[in-house]
């Protein structure tokens, strides 16, 4: 049988084979017990096949991998470091001129379109994304920043998954006193302004990305716990939960084996949506002086720097926002793909 029979339906009916007499003989020598159609697959193998059949999910994965590759090798593609201020000594004025605030400046392309080279001081320099207002190459900084923001993105997913989701599920599942106690804890944790928490952390922790991650650990899981709790409340009384409880399953097993796959939808959506918030929180903490130290940068901090000259030098904010947009698009596609793969909606057969 051809693997993917693209022929339209009508063709199959056309081949009217006219049976002849000798065909009517018992066709005995066949093993009819083997099951050819539904080879059994492990759950996870099934998830993978379903995931990789979903084109959007694959595109998302490809984008993420691409961004990771660029984040790793991007900065080394040209000779500028992420903190090198490119400057040239100008004979006429006898002053050091930095390549500050230059729009994208690619001699090869410029030659292609206009036929002649640049005539300014930085003729032979290539700044694919242009330079920032200090004169540092934006291409290098965007990809260097992407490393930090990718780390934050995956940390957020981890925090949401481990802390937020389990807190919410447990709080929703047990209900009663434990639920109200845990919810009061959430209310207290959420009411302390982030700046205060960060300020206190800064007194006894060394400032840097570590402190940002701890700050995120303390504040970012609350949204997810609310969603997980809501889902749990909805599903807690379904018959199959009662059933597995009667079978003697311990609560832990029920929560993570029975309830979780059915609540995966909103949980993954929320996870995807908490990533940009976390990336901007990191940028805010770095601006306040608690996150990464200048001249290091992250996608969020580059967006904030670009924001300072948004109407006069719009090209500065474009690359970081595009990288973030693609990252978010990719995470959403992968999230949807995961959601479909983990709990496939049986298409109406």
């Amino acid at each position: 049988m051809s693997r993917k029979n693209k022929k339209t339906v009508s063709e199959a009916a056309v081949n009217t084979y006219v049976p002849s007499a000798e065909d009517f003989v018992l066709d005995v020598n066949r093993d009819i017990t083997t099951d050819r159609n539904f080879a059994s697959q492990g759950f996870w193998k099934g998830v993978c096949t379903r995931f990789f059949k979903n084109t959007r999910a694959v595109i998302g994965l490809v984008i993420i991998v691409l961004i990771i590759i660029f984040a790793l090798i991007g900065p080394s593609l040209n000779q500028y470091g992420y903190s090198d201020i490119v400057s040239v000594y100008d004979e006429e004025t006898g002053k050091e001129i930095t390549a500050r605030s230059m729009p994208p400046h690619i001699p090869a392309l410029h030659k292609l379109f206009t036929g002649e080279d640049y005539d300014d001081l930085f003729a032979e320099h290539t700044f694919i994304f242009g330079t920032d207002s200090l004169g540092r190459d934006l291409w290098t900084r965007v990809w260097y920043g992407a490393r930090v923001s990718l780390l934050i993105a995956f940390v957020t997913i981890f925090i949401d998954m481990i802390v937020g989701m389990s807190f919410g599920l447990i709080s929703g599942f047990f209900g009663g006193v434990t639920d109200s106690f845990m919810q009061r804890f959430v209310e207290i944790a959420n009411s302390i302004p982030r700046l205060v928490i960060v300020g206190v952390l800064a007194t006894f922790m060394t400032k840097g990305i570590g402190l940002v991650i701890v700050a995120l650990l303390l504040t970012e899981w609350i949204g997810m716990s609310k969603i997980a709790r809501a889902e749990m409340l909805k599903i807690k009384n379904m018959e199959y939960i009662m059933a597995s409880r009667t079978l003697g399953a311990k609560s832990g097993r029920i929560i993570f084996k029975d309830v979780l796959p059915n609540t995966i939808g909103p949980i993954i959506t929320q996870m995807m949506f908490s990533i940009p918030t976390a990336i901007f929180t990191e940028a805010f903490l770095s601006f306040v002086g608690v996150g990464i130290m200048l001249p290091q940068c992250s996608v969020g901090s580059l967006i904030e720097d670009g924001f300072n000259n948004i109407t006069t030098l719009p090209y500065q904010i474009l690359p970081p926002i595009l990288v973030l947009a693609f990252l978010m698009l990719a995470f959403n596609f992968v999230g949807d793909g995961l959601r479909e793969a983990l709990a496939p909606r049986i298409e109406d057969m």
Partner: protein
């Protein structure tokens, strides 16, 4: 010849799924006389409920109807007879005039068939208010009366309760009440009792039979349980891999089955006398209709398959006025093949029992 309420003529449907096109229905023909009960029997995945959903116009978005027509004859509000092809009508028109009003449907899992956030009363009254133009008060009265009819104790209290407060059996009774609330002409039951235990199953079947007699409704049963078919059906369509492989009245199918697949189904039915330690099952599993089917779809699992079965698809051979079967065994050129011994003994026993029941009447 009582008029045919429903005629499904060579219905052919393909589903576009992420894995590729699935040719689920490959030319199905079903007829239903007014007031009669037809059963559609087959393993799960044979496309039984897809056909009925098409008749109801509630098919999933990714279905493509390649060909076929579904003729439905009914009397409209003003009493004059109407004959329409459901496939040609747009969804909105069907919802307004047919769904719930002329054709009603009951689903398999009562647990999830009722809206969890809406009281039983409201869900019952919805259909009536929309189709029969009753105001809330009249609808409420009729709802309470319907609940009584379907055998629910203390119906007034139940009206204000929510689905999760009732047991499976009660919920299915409510779904039935909803279905008959607008006096439909045709009731489609998609495996109504599969999710229920045996004692409640019998009660539900009796209820449907009683309603059928009281209101003169014709009923289509979709089931894989031949026990149910034996109790309620007048005619039986045996369906396999998107096609009807055998059709006939209840006696013909149970006592003179012609298609090897029907043999398999009948012998797979457990009853008291079977002394064989291991229950007979049909080997293998239904084909994945993602791949095109050449020849007889049942051939790979059929121990009586002929060489021709893998070459060409058998046409429907006429056995009697009402009895047809699509198997090359009925072709004059085919070798004489008998039913398996075990099945012949069982049918003989059933015949004896049937005569003794008739005798006592």
């Amino acid at each position: 010849m009582a008029d045919k309420i429903l005629e499904i003529r060579n219905l052919d449907i393909t589903f576009t799924t992420s894995a590729g096109p699935v040719h689920a229905i490959r030319g199905v023909n079903i007829d239903l006389e007014r007031g009669e009960t037809v059963a559609v029997v087959g393993e799960s995945g044979s496309g039984k409920s897809v056909v009925m959903k098409t008749a109801m116009g509630i098919l999933a978005g990714n279905a493509i109807i390649n060909s076929g027509e579904i003729i439905f004859r009914y009397k409209d509000d003003k009493g004059n007879a109407q004959e329409i092809d459901i496939l040609k009508k747009d969804k909105k028109w069907i919802r307004k005039n047919i769904n719930g009003k002329k054709i009603a449907m009951i689903f398999q899992d009562p647990m999830t068939s009722l809206d969890p956030t809406m009281t039983i009363g409201k869900q019952l009254m919805e259909g009536m208010i929309m189709h029969m133009g009753l105001n809330r008060q009249q609808a409420a009265e009729r709802a309470v009366q319907l609940l009584g009819e379907v055998g629910i104790t203390d119906p007034a209290k139940r009206m204000k309760q929510y689905p999760h407060q009732l047991s499976g059996g009660m919920r299915q009774r409510i779904v039935i009440a909803i279905a008959i609330s607008c006096n439909p002409d045709l009731l489609i039951c998609d495996e109504p009792t599969t999710a229920l235990d045996v004692t409640i199953q019998a009660k539900i079947l009796e209820l449907i039979k009683k309603l059928q007699e009281d209101h003169g409704i014709s009923v289509i049963y979709i089931t894989h349980d031949l026990g149910v078919v034996a109790k309620v059906a007048d005619y039986v369509n045996v369906m396999y891999a998107g096609k009807i492989v055998e059709v006939g009245n209840i006696e013909e199918i149970f006592y003179e089955p012609k298609h090897p697949y029907t043999w398999g189904l009948l012998s797979a039915m457990p009853d008291l006398e079977t002394d064989d330690s291991r229950l007979y099952t049909i080997p293998g599993s239904p084909p994945n209709l993602l791949h095109a089917v050449t020849g007889d779809a049942f051939a790979p699992r059929n121990q009586f398959a002929l060489k021709v079965d893998s070459l060409a698809e058998p046409p429907m051979f006429k056995v009697s006025e009402t009895h047809y079967a699509a198997t090359w065994l009925l072709d004059p050129r085919a070798p004489e093949v008998k039913m398996p011994e075990e099945l012949q003994k069982r049918i003989a026993r059933m015949l004896k029992e049937a005569k003794s029941d008739a005798g006592q009447l």
